[in-house]
């Protein structure tokens, strides 16, 4: 355990020096186009436009996609989600939150042995359907699950007040 930790710290040091070089002007740019998502998508507010770009509008719904996410999220800022596609030949998974200001949360491409399965934590601005679009063998498949958020996680609310326990009951 300790050995791993030491290695981590060493790794962080080495990465740090690379970071300095990056700041000198080697910022990655335009990587968005590479995987079928337009560069602007991550800043687009319109859900239908994004869904169209990602191929989700023509997609057929599929039972091969499992979305593991709580039905009720107590804290919109940290909503655990796991997406698993059992469709053969799944190449990519895109996660979209319909009611967020910026609907596209992430798109992951799997290759060379990467399993079409991903778990992370996402933000919800409020209660919203979560859409998952999977590309497999040139076809698009989708699945949807609605989540109710008690406290939104994208607004300008002050967490120090919202996190306080409620005084009533």
């Amino acid at each position: 355990m300790n050995k791993t930790r030491r290695k981590l710290i060493l790794g962080a040091g080495a990465a740090g020096t690379i970071t300095l070089a990056t700041l000198a002007g080697l910022a990655p740019a335009g990587s968005a186009q590479a995987i079928g998502l337009k560069a602007t998508d991550l800043g687009i507010n319109d859900f239908d436009t994004v869904m169209n770009d990602i191929g989700g509008l023509q997609a057929q719904s599929s039972n091969g996609i499992s979305i593991l996410v709580p039905d009720i999220a107590e804290q919109g800022a940290f909503v655990p989600i796991e997406v698993y596609s059992q469709i053969p030949g799944s190449e990519s998974i895109a996660i979209l939150v319909e009611n967020n200001a910026i609907p596209v949360v992430a798109k992951f491409e799997f290759k060379n042995g990467g399993v079409a399965r991903i778990a992370t934590r996402i933000k919800l601005a409020g209660s919203s359907p979560i859409h998952v679009v999977v590309r497999a063998g040139g076809q698009h498949y989708r699945a949807t699950k609605s989540v109710k958020a008690v406290i939104g996680g994208c607004g300008d609310e002050d967490f120090s007040t919202t996190m306080k326990p409620k005084s009533t009951t």
Binding site: A12, T19, P28, F108, V115, I118, D156
Partner: protein, 103 residues
């Protein structure tokens, strides 16, 4: 400068489960501070994972991922001693990476 990442890979059979914790503010650019000033957007745009130098996961990420992103992914056809490397890039040109051996 980017803070250290945590990464861990556990093997069951030939499938490795890789857990990765990144330190990052993930600001959307929509929030305001107490003075009413907009907090500038600062979020990760790209996450890559490599197995022995070969890309297995190519992720394009937006500000909808929570602060201090936690990412779990699975890689097939792995054996003990294989190297997994995860790296990220953000919209301000910062980046970081971490490497671990599958145990």
């Amino acid at each position: 400068m980017a803070e250290a990442m945590k990464i861990r890979a556990d093997l069951s059979g030939t499938v490795a489960k890789v857990k990765c914790l990144i330190n990052h503010p993930m600001e959307t650019g929509l929030r305001k501070d107490k003075a009413g000033q907009v907090i500038p957007a600062h979020y990760i745009t790209q996450v890559n994972a490599m197995l022995n130098g070969v890309v297995v996961l190519d992720g394009q990420v937006g500000s909808g991922i929570s602060k201090n992103p936690f990412l779990v992914f699975w890689v097939q056809g792995t054996k003990p001693g294989d190297k997994i490397q995860v790296s990220w890039f953000d919209n301000m040109g910062d980046k970081n990476s971490a490497e671990t051996q599958i145990a």
